[in-house]
Amino acid sequence: MSCGSRAVPERIEALTDEQVDEEVDMEERERIRRTPSERSSEQETDETVEEPTSAVAGDRIKAELDGLLDEIDEVLETNAEEFVRSFVQKGGQ
């Protein structure tokens, strides 16, 4: 095993400030990214009452998905081919 537990605290100590900043940053990004889907789920509740027909529901789902797909383009691995090729696991149980 290459990580002796005794070596760890020193290193983490040294990175404490960066670590905290990074977390705040991650949370912030997470909050911003969540907003569209939260908004769309609120819409869903409002609209289900008014729009019972499946055609309209279909449009709503499409609009929701469009927002999601924009996000996916952002978070999807840039080189999908290489990403998929290199994801190799040892079999488990």
Partner: protein, 503 residues
Amino acid sequence: MAIPKICGIETEYGIALRGVEDPNPITASAILINSYLSELARRGGAVHGAPQVGWDFVDETPDRDARGFMAAGAMPPDVETHMVNAVLTNGARYYVDHAHPELSTPECADARSVVVFDRAAELILERSMRDADTFLPEGQSIVVYKNNSDGKGNSYGCHENYLFDRETPFGNIVRFITPHFVTRQVFCGAGKVGSEIGAGPEAVPFQLSQRADFFEEEVGLETTLKRPIVNTRDEPHADPSKYRRLHVIVGDANMSEVATFLKVGTTAIVSCMIEDEWLPGRLVLRAPVPAIRSVSTDLSLARPIELEDGTRITALELQRELHRLAVEWAAARGLDCVGADVGAEILQRWDAVLTGLESDRESVAGQVDWVAKLRVVDAYRDRHGLGWGDARLRALDLQYHDLRPDRSLARRVGLERLCGDEEIEAAVTEPPHDTRAYFRGRCLAKFGDEVVSANWDSLVFDIGSDPLRRVPMMEPGRGTASHVASVIDGSRNAAELLDRLGS
């Protein structure tokens, strides 16, 4: 009479070490877990001592077969004793298994509790990635995936465990649980782009289950080769004269909380019905192995499978019949053995998900992983005009299971939540109150320095005088908060605790 269905989930996670040529997954898994444990130790406080407590293998007998014999040529699974292996204060076990990080939830009293601790496990893995990143050299990072295959024929499991009455003949369990295992994937399949047993994208563009490709036997002891639909490992981790533990290896790891709830909840109810001899012989399948693949690859949910008497029935119809019988069983026997309120919710959600799948599949995209995933994959395909063989669709599939919050697709598709962030956060460190996991977790939190080793059915204390003192916990339903909280709270050290317990 059915006994309380104490249950839990153990998940092997996929792992990638980025920024390294030819990374070793065993080392990566060890770094991941050690980083988390080191960070816990560094912070001290409520988790004091826990990382030092090792797992005790005295009780492990993975080669014992529930059928009472050892199949010729069968390979019993190895237990690896040399790798990282920790017990956490929430009663869980966190370790390296084969070449994967694995986390076993503590014993839970019901399906809802399993969902909470399964989500807490995700949070522990998420934090482990973060902790490993501070430890790894610049440019390297570890990414964890909660899925069951690498898309290239290598699979790893998400296993469930259910406490069974020893008096129930194992043959009955096999006979009656198999139809449920073959068909429950319609609502608890995690979805997969493509096939890993030679079918091209034209034949199998997408299937319901991550795991169905990998099942080759109806029943057996193995878990890594020739996987059986019903696993026969007879290792109850409890009084073997009273209990069995049904070890389920056929399921997918779910991202949807509702899917996990339904997977565990319906299986707990079907298990109780088997103990109560409630299920009729007519629901037994003629050929389960071809059937599990047929159901997984049929996106129309309309292709029938054959029962032993020649009747043809779809997976949805079979589930509908199981649900109908479950409602009758609950009316006659009550739902106490799966938790009264939780049991009622299982029956209601089981009905709702079947209705959704029967009538308007899109309506269950917030509950069923494969529907949620397929919806996104289809929309992405349309937007970019992609064929089914395109690598981007496989990338989407993988990304669905990524546990990094800023990368996970599952966290973006609007999956319904069953439990709150606060209770998940609490479950990272606090054990369930209603099983023996309470005793294990609280002892580690309070007397961690004096606990030498732990396993599912005992704790070993070193109170400074020879010999070491082993406290057996052969009853999974004892050692709960109502049994032992006051004893633990009132003891200043392990010696006092042992005195009060009278051991």
